[in-house]
Amino acid sequence: MAEMRCPMCGKENPAELERCQHCQARLRPLETPAPHEPGQEATGPATPPGGEVPDWLGSFRQVDEGAAAPLETEESATEAGEAEALALGEEELPEWLRSEEAPPSPAGEPEGASPGDLPEWLAALHLESEEASMSPPVRYDDGPPPHPGDQEPDWLRDLRQRQGVEKFTPQLAEEAEEQAADQVPEAQNAPPKAEEAAPQETQEPSEGITDWQHILDQDQPPAKAETPAPRAPGEGELPAWLGEIKAAGAPTPAGPEGKAETPLEPAAEGEEETPGWLSRFEGSPALILDEEEQAALAAEAPLPAAEVEAVTPAAFSSEEPPQAEIPSSVPPFIFEGEDLFIGGVPDWLKAADEEAPMESAPEESAPDLAPAELPTWVEAMRPARLAAAGPSILDESEKEVEGAGPLVGLRGVLPVEPEVARLKKSSLSVRLQIPEKQAERIAILESLLRTEGKTAPAREKPAAATQNILRVLIFLVLALAAVLSLLGLGGQAGLPQFPAPVFDASQAVNAIPGGAAVLVAVDYEPAFSAEMDAAAAPLLDHLMLKGAYLTLVSSLPTGPAQAERLVKGVSLRAGHHYQDSGQYANLGYIPGGTSGVLTFAEIPQAALPFAADGSRAWEGEKLRSIRSLADFALVVVLTESPEVARAWIEQAQPLLGTTPMVMVTSAQAEPLVRPYYETTPRQVTGMVAGLAGGAGYERILSRPGLAAGLWGAFGNLNLAAVAIMLVAGLVNVISGALARPRSGGSEEKL
């Protein structure tokens, strides 16, 4: 699909569109006016069918009517598509030029203001346009156009009258041009693209340019194909207003009082004819300076002609936006040195110049600062070219010159189009300088990310794994040892010696009076029943022998059932016939965990007002006098958990006073509860730990029970386990020794 470039924004659009889809500018002109012959007066722009000339545009045409001889551009082959007549008509104007669709009005100005509400200067243009007829485009081939004379706009006339300046004449323009020609430095090369765009525009004016651009370019000769040579001052295709700038040099603020007019440099002969709307300014004074300023201005170096020529109307119609080479065509409005002051640099400023420049001040003020050492990852992020480049602050001369839009040719303005729209090659390298180590880590990370989510194929499990075989084998060995021991085939094993904590526990039970109330807290899980029953049974048997009134509680929900089963089992085996009616009371479950234990220790009757069976146990004879735990003769805690044991010791033991506390624990909790037995004074009076503690207690009582029945098998199983460990360790050592010579030095270290 054919595409054409918008003359305003430079973006691509389909060829069949009439307006640009980005900026709504017209892509094709409405009419193509006939080319003018040299010497012929401008016949004026063709009136667009059915439309009036806009006011502002008509005022520009007024200047053309006053031109004595239209400027003629160099003869060149022109194609159909010469600049259209000035009379674009409303429907041919870009949207923003139309009065109906005017751009948003500035602040303070109501939108859709009627011509009557327009500013004075714009209203003057409007009036002038009504009077003006369709004036032919002005040709600038024959030198500067004559002064508009009576057709001069009112505002300009008023301005001149106010300043007391005579009318600008062509002679004055020529003189100013001659003066400026001597001072224009060698022009730089005109931007090739701008020059190339001109022939493109003249050759194909119907594509990508608006009508008013045609008017600007209608008489401009097509540029040559070769790169134009640097233009000398005064030569080349200069519009009138640019020629004026060149003649005047750098502009200075003009005073409104009694300043002489400085004529603008008109377009010299052979130059490209300036468009109509610019021609009216050729004879108009742009700057009003006095004689001294004029002399100083004449002594200044005028603008390079090439730079001025580069900013031609052709640039507006170029298909491609001007590139970065254009900035050299128009020098910035910057003064340097003595040029700024017409009467010379004042003394106070000279004295300031003699001081150290500001740019070097920061450098000189801190000479002893060592450059910071940046880490490698920060250095890697530094752009390659930027690292070698100098200061990042651009000079004025390096600022980009606007290449599109109405501000074409000016430096330092905000770009019309965003940077992203410009197809400009970046001068900075975005490639990071990655060290080797980081590159390796990057590769590792990438491989990890690639394999993430990918499931590795499951290894087929062998039907009989080595670990399973060993596990079953060990079980069979232990089970055999247990069966044989329990059947009495493993020999009889004597009860162990009782340790000191067990003896102290038995002494504590011996010290209670007969029939005294003893608190028994059954706080072990059913899974540990085998060991805990074997450890607690001899102590309970001892308490039953003393006739103690057992008060059963538990901080576990399964504790009451455990307690009930324990008491009944001990009673049945030992033949005590303990009954729950008068020999023990099961108070049930203490809710709240640690807080519940503390509550029960402080106010036991309020914490558990009812027994597990719902009866009021505290009204019984034995418990009626109990107000706190200190009223019990002994407190026994049965638990396999070190945390529960610590909770009873920390919460209840401080409130016991002289009442002793005995712990019956599992073998796994003994190392953690033993420190409470070793304190001085002892927080735990006695301890019975595990099967060994129970067996020792049975030895003290000389009443074999559960512990004695399991002790022999326990010992045999321990022997079997030790044998298994020795054999397995031996096998491991032998296999490791045999495996080492095979691999030799190539064995990988894990």
């Binding site: 060991e531 049930g588 479950y589 640690t594 073998a667 796994q668 190392p671």
Partner: protein
């Protein structure tokens, strides 16, 4: 004891015990449905029993009965926990969960106070005193222990305690151009602490092994007690 002397409930219990014991032993062959069934039944029965005990032992006598037929003071003391319990129930609804914050704060605060107070008064202070008294040679004479042995025992305990605490010190110094590392002195002391920690873990493991071995023996004994009468019965 023979199976003939057991009533129906006891016999059923024995049979169930045997079945579940064998189901748990089946884990030797790996995870299997029998083991899962046994575990599920155990967890379910424990939860159900806990629910029943909580209702009959706590909620019914201490909450419902006072609300229904209690005196004015009992009713008043029962309304406070009822109100707080209802506020805690609102935590299950996101829209009203903020209303349960005061009750939760009360629970957490009381629990924390009890735990912290007990830990300080029941463990930290007494254990610190005990550690100090380890090197009391006069107390050793009262207990009948030779003072040399008492002193050596106290020294070993003190060295073990301090070296174990130093082992968990992870501070280090950073030298320029070198990776951070601990000082040599701390490294040596922490190595000694590693030995004591390893011995402590070994003792704990031995206790766990002993408890498990006892449970295994008891189960084997119960299996034998179930089958032997059957075998002995003519």
């Amino acid at each position: 004891m023979s199976l003939a002397g057991l009533n129906l409930a006891e016999l059923a219990g024995a049979v169930c015990g045997l079945a579940f014991t064998l189901a748990v032993f089946s884990y030797l062959l790996g995870d299997n449905p029998l083991f899962r069934v046994a575990i599920a039944v155990f967890v379910g029965v424990t939860a159900a029993y806990a629910l029943v005990v909580t209702w009959y032992n706590v909620l019914w006598p201490q909450l419902v009965i006072p609300l229904l037929s209690g005196s004015r003071s009992e009713l008043f003391f029962a309304l406070a926990p009822v109100g707080l319990s209802l506020l805690i129930f609102l935590k299950a609804f996101p829209k009203w969960s903020s209303l349960g914050n005061p009750a939760m704060a009360f629970l957490v605060g009381v629990g924390a106070a009890a735990a912290i107070g007990g830990a300080v008064l029941g463990t930290l202070i007494p254990q610190a005193n005990a550690s100090i008294n380890l090197l009391d040679v006069q107390a050793a004479g009262q207990s009948g222990m030779p003072w040399m042995i008492k002193l050596a025992e106290g020294t070993v305990i003190l060295v073990g305690t301090l070296s174990s605490l130093v082992y968990f010190h992870f501070g280090s110094r950073r030298a320029p151009g070198e990776p951070p590392r601990r000082s040599e002195a701390i490294g040596v002391v922490s190595w000694v602490g590693q030995l004591f920690i390893a011995i402590a873990f070994g003792v704990l493991f031995a206790g766990v092994y002993a408890a498990a071995l006892t449970a295994f023996l008891e189960r084997v004994q119960s299996i034998l007690a179930f089958f032997l009468p059957l075998l002995a019965t003519p």
